[in-house]
């Protein structure tokens, strides 16, 4: 029982990362109809912005400044979000009227370029992020297990971000305009709303979410050029299971699948890496729109 609760907590730890990343993917897909394969690279980039800000600013750019963990939580999403906006404006926009597959191929290419770029300068097997704040470096005694404070912080912080995003999109004026833009871009534009601007900002926001997840992941996992590539396939499976374009679906599925993975580690460890894909196949066969998606 102790092992089950402990693995459940670790599963939740993984689940919040799934949730944050699949949330970004779902928002981008919902509004732009783009399957953003570069999402994993944005996550990786977020972690690298934190690492570079902490350790390499002086060495590389001659700026005697160190951006700590808290600073990175703001900096990295801004930098990554800006890059997202540039990518959307200069490249993805031109593919807006083409089939999904073109956007997927383009973003896949961007992923490979970013990974190659970072692999050239950094250890492929990962560089530890040294900037974990002192306040979060302790250990919590939860009774059934000891749990590092930082991991608990990551869980709580990610949950807050996920549900805040959901609230903004589903329950505010801004959100309702966004949803209107998704439902019928022409009509929304006719009402005087600037749909292309909304699209660009949404892409930037989705990318920023991935960057933020990257910063949160940096102290737990080593920062590596391939960290996003390892995760993105699973995250796509999460989005497929949850239903493309469903915000709450992406969050809940991300969390649930983290838990499922954790539980599999208790009962049959060798299947832990494949259980999500097994579920994905089942969902595709019996409910192709996903658990939370609307059948068309």
């Amino acid at each position: 029982m102790q092992l089950i609760t402990a693995q459940a907590l670790l599963g939740l730890n993984v689940g919040v990362f799934y949730a944050m990343l699949s949330l970004g993917l779902a928002v981008i897909f919902g509004l732009l109809n783009i399957i953003n394969f570069a999402h994993g690279a944005m996550y990786m980039l977020g972690a690298f912005v934190a690492l570079i800000g902490y350790s390499y600013l002086e060495q590389w750019f001659g700026i005697s400044l160190q951006i700590g963990f808290w600073g990175s939580l703001i900096m990295a999403p801004l930098v990554v979000g800006l890059l997202g906006i540039i990518i959307e404006r200069t490249m993805l926009k031109r593919l807006a009227n083409l089939d999904h597959i073109y956007g997927l191929l383009l973003t896949f290419g961007i992923t490979l370029i970013l990974q190659g770029l970072f692999a050239n300068y950094f250890n492929v097997s990962g560089t530890p992020y040294p900037g974990q704040p002192e306040v979060l470096s302790g250990v919590l005694n939860l009774g059934f297990m000891y749990f590092p404070t930082y991991r608990m912080f990551a869980i709580v912080f990610s949950l807050v971000v996920c549900f805040a995003t959901w609230y903004v999109i589903e329950h505010t004026r801004l959100g309702s305009r966004l949803r209107a833009g998704v439902e019928n871009p022409q009509l929304t534009q006719a009402f005087g709303l600037n749909v292309p601007l909304m699209v660009t900002l949404t892409f930037g926001f989705g990318a920023a979410l991935a960057g933020l997840a990257g910063v949160l992941a940096a102290p737990i996992y080593s920062v590596s050029p391939l960290m996003g590539a390892d995760l993105i396939i699973v995250v796509f499976a999460v989005v497929v299971i949850g239903g493309m374009g469903s915000i709450m679906g992406a969050i809940l599925t991300g969390l649930a699948l983290g838990l499922v993975e954790g539980m599999t580690k208790v009962f049959y460890p060798p299947a832990a890496n494949t259980v999500i894909f097994f579920l994905m196949v089942l969902v595709l066969l019996f409910r192709p729109a996903g658990l939370f998606g609307k059948e068309q």
């Binding site: 102790q2 092992l3 402990a6 693995q7 670790l10 730890n13 692999a119 050239n120 250890n123 492929v124 097997s125 990962g126 250990v139 297990m145 000891y146 749990f147 590092p148 737990i220 996992y221 080593s222 590596s224 954790g262 580690k265 208790v266 460890p269 832990a272």
Partner: protein
């Protein structure tokens, strides 16, 4: 990651260009004696072997005088990226096109097995300092393959014996999922069971795992006394650090690092690593001679040598001595000479290279000092006991190598 590899090839190319105009020496085949250092220059094993191994090989050549019988000696190096196919194609190019005479380092057992086999087909000596698997001198032994520093038989003899005798009878393994990890787990398990202990479970993790938390919790739940880490390098460091985060040791289980390098202890820090026992072939301050060499190495490399880096120096210098003694770089003659020699330097004391390629030498069981005991940055280890070569290594009566006449 590719830049190192390319630099290596560029070095080789440049070296070939330079060597062409020189008059070929009557004895040494192509006018230059080339030693190839093939190591992990960018991944998990970079710190323990990698660029430091190149430095050690260069020091060996310089100390030898830079040339042998009037022929220049040259070091070439490349990154194998822990991929057997990349290692094999680099080795093939080195041997076939660049006439490299001896290959060393070869950390990572998958790489080691691939390169040793390929080199033997081309009659080239490999002096492996970095890989652990006993297959190099057992099932897959070759007439030209030498295993120089340690193997997965020598490691558990000291560590597992000490732990079982101190009451650590039930073992659970975290195993790196490739040739080396499996070999280390099986050999350690055998030692544990021979002493009356029990292996209660094992879980495989991929090479270079960042998050050991769920593996560690399973190990904790298994009820084992000892969690054996059948992995190496950054993996061992991550596992020990995270065991500390999840308070595994504080909750009563012991960790046994089956392959730990001094650089790992240095990167973990004494607070986390203190009390950890492991087996090593070399401690930089074990005696005056070792201390003197290690200080020179530290000045050039910026860190004290690991056992495999010190081993590269010893392997290269003994290879050069053997070439000089027989007056040719013909692999059969040099290998025969190496088998005859008794190896004595700061690294090895009375070592012998057995017919199966295993370099038989004493090992040490060491314990990590507490922060109070340590007097300097690298003063990290106490020698607990010396493990005689005949206990540490598989004997010629027991070996499965078919080169040995029993």
């Amino acid at each position: 990651m590719f830049s190192n590899w390319k630099t290596g090839i560029a070095t080789v190319a440049a070296a070939t260009a330079v060597s062409l105009p020189m008059a070929a020496n009557a004895e040494l085949s192509d006018g230059v004696l080339k030693i190839g250092v093939l190591s992990d220059m960018s991944g998990v094993y970079k710190t323990l072997e990698g660029p430091g191994a190149v430095t050690a090989a260069e020091m060996a050549v310089e100390d030898f005088g830079g040339s042998i019988m009037g022929t220049p000696i040259e070091i070439v190096s490349a990154d194998h990226q822990n991929k057997a196919d990349i290692a094999a194609s680099t080795a093939r190019e080195w041997i076939d096109d660049d006439e490299v005479d001896m290959l060393t380092a070869l950390d990572n057992s998958s790489v080691a097995l691939a390169v040793q086999g390929l080199a033997a087909e081309r009659k080239v000596i490999t002096m492996n300092t970095g890989a652990g698997t006993t297959a190099l001198t057992e099932e897959q032994c070759t007439p030209y393959g030498i295993h120089y520093v340690y193997d997965t038989h020598a490691l558990p003899v000291g560590t597992a014996t000490a732990m079982v005798k101190n009451g650590g009878e039930k073992w659970f393994f975290l195993t790196a999922d490739y040739a080396f990890g499996h070999s280390l787990r099986d050999n350690t398990g055998a030692v544990v069971e021979e002493l009356g202990g029990e292996v209660v479970g094992s879980i495989q993790h991929p090479l270079s795992t960042n998050d050991f938390s769920s593996y560690l919790l399973q190990a904790q739940a298994s009820g084992a006394d000892v969690i054996g880490l059948a992995n190496a390098g950054q993996d061992t460091v991550n596992a020990i650090k995270q065991a500390n985060q999840f308070q595994i040791v504080q909750s009563g289980q012991k960790l046994a690092g089956m392959l730990v390098f001094i650089t790992d202890v240095h990167s973990m820090g004494l607070d986390i690593a203190q009390g950890l026992q492991f087996t090593t072939a070399f401690v930089w301050n074990q005696d005056e001679e070792a201390l003197e060499w290690s200080n020179r190495f530290n000045e050039r490399h910026g860190a004290m040598p690991t056992m495999v880096q010190a081993g590269v120096y010893s392997a290269v210098s003994n290879y050069l001595k053997a070439v000089e003694a027989v007056g040719t770089d013909d692999s059969d003659a040099v290998r025969a000479q190496l088998g005859e020699m008794e190896l004595n330097d700061f690294f090895v004391d009375g070592g012998k290279i057995a017919p199966n390629g295993s370099m038989l030498h004493d090992m040490f069981l060491v314990e990590v000092k507490s922060p109070d005991e340590s007097e300097s940055e690298w003063d990290l280890l106490n020698v607990v006991s010396r493990i005689p070569a005949d206990q540490a290594y598989i004997s010629m009566e027991e070996t499965k190598c078919d080169l040995v006449n029993k």
